[in-house]
Symmetry: D2
């Protein structure tokens, strides 16, 4: 058993931490951001800085210019990046990192050249379009109502999707749809690549959300007989949910990593504040009412970090780690949100202002308990697995 980092990885972590502190944190107050996230211009500046620092797309396979990071290595790198909400954009590990992984796993060589390479270069962005309004796909993805019906060699995809993150910034969309054959028989769900601007595809609205960190925000969209050719099918027809799992297990963990960094940031701010701010005759950090919150923060950060690294290690061993990644997701999304909440509480009134990074992280981390499966769905799945034994 070995919990240590190699000197190279420790050095990489330090480099990223310095980069984020020096180059990215100051951009957090950049006005090129609104309720729908950082603007395209700001994202390009982040990309430029990441590339200049030699930190862009480190997770990419070596043939695409990355370091081919293992999952454990990602745990270190992405946590360091997450210290600022803008950090992962500068390293190209959010948004889209889940799509990168999935394409790497299931796309054909041609598809990789066409879509994965430019994603990793930063030339393109993608979306992963599963969630639907009207009692369609959500916590239970099998409720997908969007359909794909054959039309000659092609498919016509129709339906509605919402909570589609980064829609306006994306060059293409990976759309999950229930697929039928010519006779109307159900073949299962399939993932189709739909280009931005495809005839029949339109944005119904951009949604107003609690979170504001994702470039492009979130959209509700409609597909009306959007034609998709065979070469735009990812993997095999009917295996869409299975591929989604391929994407989701590691994607859940990368969320945990980035939020770990963000929660650590809040904790650091709270510690600094607790040393300085005085009340009732001494620094508030000398009040146990405050110092116990800091102790709990440190414990939660520590245990989340161990859980993430362990699950990553399992993935690196070739295991599916479904239960471990579910446990990690539940635990991190709940505990890290508490770390952020306590940090805000330590700052008192000023904690709910944008004078520090905490308030924004507070708003944004709330959604982490919802996306990639709300806690309840993971507990449901874990419970069933336990009962089955």
């Amino acid at each position: 058993m070995d919990f240590g980092l190699s000197p190279e990885l420790a050095e990489l972590e330090r480099r990223i931490h310095d980069f984020v502190a020096r180059e990215i944190v100051p951009l957090e107050d950049d006005p090129r951001q609104d309720a729908h996230g950082p603007s395209r211009e700001l994202c390009l500046e982040l990309q430029r800085r990441g590339k200049e620092a030699g930190l862009w797309s480190l997770h990419a396979p070596r043939q695409y210019g990355g370091l081919g990071l293992s999952h454990v290595e990602r745990a270190i790198v992405f946590e360091a990046a997450g210290y600022s909400l803008l950090g992962p954009i500068a390293l190209n590990c959010m948004p889209g990192e889940g799509d990168h992984h999935m394409l790497e796993m299931i796309a054909t060589p041609e598809q990789k050249d066409r879509w994965l390479k430019p994603l990793l270069d930063g030339a393109l962005k993608s979306t992963f379009a599963v969630t639907e309004p009207d009692n369609g796909a959500g916590a239970d993805p099998t409720q997908v109502m969007t359909t794909a019906r054959p039309d000659g060699e092609d498919f016509l995809v129709s339906g509605r999707k919402w909570l589609i993150t980064g829609y306006r910034e994306a060059a293409f969309h990976i759309v999950m749809a229930q697929t039928e054959d010519a006779a109307g028989a159900r073949l299962g769900a399939t993932m189709f690549v739909v280009d931005a601007g495809a005839p029949g595809l339109r944005e119904i609205r951009r949604m107003d959300m609690l979170d504001d960190m994702f470039p492009g925000g979130h959209s509700e969209i409609e597909l009306e007989n959007v034609r998709v050719t065979r070469d735009r099918i990812l993997g095999e027809i009917g295996r869409g949910f299975r591929y989604a799992q391929v994407r989701l297990c590691p994607a859940r963990l990368t969320h945990c990593m980035r939020w770990l960094g963000a929660a650590r940031r809040c904790h650091d701010i709270a510690v600094k504040y607790a040393r300085w701010r005085r009340a009732f005759g001494k620094p508030i950090g000398e009040h146990e009412g405050v110092s116990f919150m800091l102790a709990d923060n440190q414990m939660d950060l520590h245990h989340c970090r161990l859980a993430v690294r362990h699950a990553c290690w399992l993935l690196d061993q070739g295991e599916e780690a479904r239960e471990e990644s579910s446990m990690c997701k539940v635990y991190c999304s709940e505990k890290l949100a508490q770390v952020v909440d306590r940090s805000l509480q330590v700052l008192g009134g000023i904690g709910s202002s944008n004078d520090t990074a905490i308030a924004r992280i507070y708003r944004n981390i709330r959604a982490f308990r919802l996306y990639d499966g709300p806690s309840e769905v993971h507990r449901y799945a874990l419970g069933r697995a336990i009962l089955k034994g």
Copy 2:
């Protein structure tokens, strides 16, 4: 012992509830709102509707056109108003209701005519300016650094304040300052009324906050030798903190009342959603993972309501109820926030959007655990009182 409402009060509650549902809730999507709260125009429309419905300033003394509501009656009325974040504005019970109460308790008849009457009419707005930057007044109000130094018959007030709610909308400000006599001896804290536009008073900035429900938002301001005449002193010199307590005990409770209404709103939305939304083969409300959250919501709402009404009843008996109002504040600010959080969780991804009222309430209720004393300060005070016995 009697937990019942009089028929008149029950009828009033019903009327307010209907008014809020029919007239106010539809205004929640009104575009005349931004990150710094509803605009002056929207507030005036809310005021107009409240007055037309005969529900404006019900808590005002009868000589000022109100019903002279007891504290228990306020508990019923303000909860009903709070069902929409805009409801209390339409009933004139937020913001400013704490100032109304304090002025009623400590102002001279002349001062009441000058300031209380127009506040209750809706002609003016006020702020309560205590909190300060730079290790000044906050959770520990005795740390006030703003000073008032005599200059002939007048005082010159100097200092900085922040988190001053509604500054831009207010016609006057109640400013807490450490007061000295001509010899520089400390006389204690005093409350001074400073008019908007007074020479030496200026806004440094408007603050960006997690909450967005208070008209005018929150400002950081500076006072530089602002001249205040004797007739603008509230109560006696040096008794400012004591008056603040007069204001705070009931003010804490009225926050609890309004947030009780808002939390109930979220719960109602969650219940409706849980009946409709399906996952894994049945309405999500039939999953215990969801229905247990709803049960916990109902319990918390019920117990918070009992606690509020009990503390109000004590105030109505002429008791100070300091411990009870502290307990109420801690309990309601923590439990009602959980009700809102669970409601959001029930809705899943869409809960973090502005498609329902929940996400906005979620953001705004966070500050409730901070203002009027964070939980830690109340627990600290309660603990000391328990130890003293």
Copy 3:
């Protein structure tokens, strides 16, 4: 609305409190107790003291020598009695108080003379035998497997029961059984009175339990064709579960009352200890890590008390109060156990010794979250009711 106590009730509360402190608390170390509760002799001494103090069976109807206490009055009286685990025995409000209430509601006049009167006099004890081994009745009482089959005019009752509290001390047992008619058709569950010593009734074993406060402990028993005559049926055939509800709603509340008293006892011990015990340079009560626990205790005690009294008031108004009594049971069983747990924690190592009353209360209160419906069953029922609307 009125949260006040009448002077008479306040005086009665004071009297009971004094009685328990002076006469009962010293008996807590009496050696006539073991893992199966206080012995018969000790119970008789408690009964004698309660009678001499004029505090025996206060809840009994006036025609049976009691005060005919309302539910709200019971809330005050039983909490005061519960300050010692032995107090309720001295006031005859535990065990058996649930049976008293049920018999008063559903027994015929003859049955009341035969069973209720001596129970209230202290001449007899009863058990309420519902719970069963082998996937029989438990959290879901409808799973009763014990049967009652007609045999001429009589019934023959057969089955197994366990967790039967006070079996060895009881003169008769109220046994729930699935009832059939002569043709074998199911008539529903019925309650039968079975005398101690009835042929076919035997104790399989006395069970070793976490709790040790109930006289006689808990037994597993067997009934084999126990003959029951018609006059021993309580209420109508087939309505057993409905009567059980009649018993359970108030019975749940009286558990809450008594445990409220016991939890208050623990809190009082913890407060006293926190004033005396020193660590790290000052009394531990001056450490917020301790004083916050005491503040939380006080809040939980206060809110539980309000909840109990409110539910009682509803019962006094003639309402069924099923949801309120469920909420009360969940809330009190969870929160009061936390009060006890925190009190133990305040005392540190010595808290887990029998040097104070806390450790014993800690052991005993655990079962409160299980009997009369575990929290999960109440949340399940509450959730269903909420969904139904």
Copy 4:
């Protein structure tokens, strides 16, 4: 990074698990146990079985016949042993294991032969006597009131100690005392070895406790001028608290390991029960109200295990790991107790009986949050370390 076990260690774990299941679990109902723990005879039988299985004192250094287990290896071995409360006795890893470690670290070769060797052989038992009544040593060990005054070459030790675990079974006691020189100057605390039966040493009483797993129970004792010769001093005079830390960091972790095993046991029982027991139409494990508890159990067990192993690994690297062992202690003592509590709750009423191992574990694990520093002391220390930075 490597979270894997070597094949040898995995095999050892399996062997211990089998041994405990086959040889030790059946002894749990052995009548040779009472409120003060398993009797000497039962302990000897456990020792015999452990030796026959080749599992006795595996943690001992190789020169004393053990495997010289690293801390990480202990984590695996002790968790497996802890699956039964009697398991650690059979492996000689409780009680006394903390003393073994401390003696190994600080005793002279002669002292090791005299005391450590027979402890590891199972010929002798020891106690660690620090805690005192009367506002003496406890959570704050520096409050030691027991004194050691020089008398010629010897010391005379006087004072009172309580909560001394295993006093009646021990051949010698390691007594912490404030040491003075001949002039009465304070030299700091020192650890003295006092033999059972030494003149001046006596037991005041055996204490009644919530826990019942430690052989010999817990005693209150008195030392009155107990003569101790120089060769009976452990380490240097005045460094007692420092040595106690040497003992406490790993000792805390070994408690975590054993309780991890015990909590896992409870979880396993609950899972099995949840599969079998039916309520409301299906196995209770298919109710999310139950399965979510099982999911939380699994998460807590998993994260506690990771935390323990990580802290052990740090110790194995030669680090002091004070913060990590504190975090581990707080986290495990709180979370594992919740695992046990939830397991009990899953079983309902029968969970509070001794029909399964849960109730006993429930009672015993409560003290884990108290000994080796209550949670509050660890949070206090962690908070101070965080503030200091």
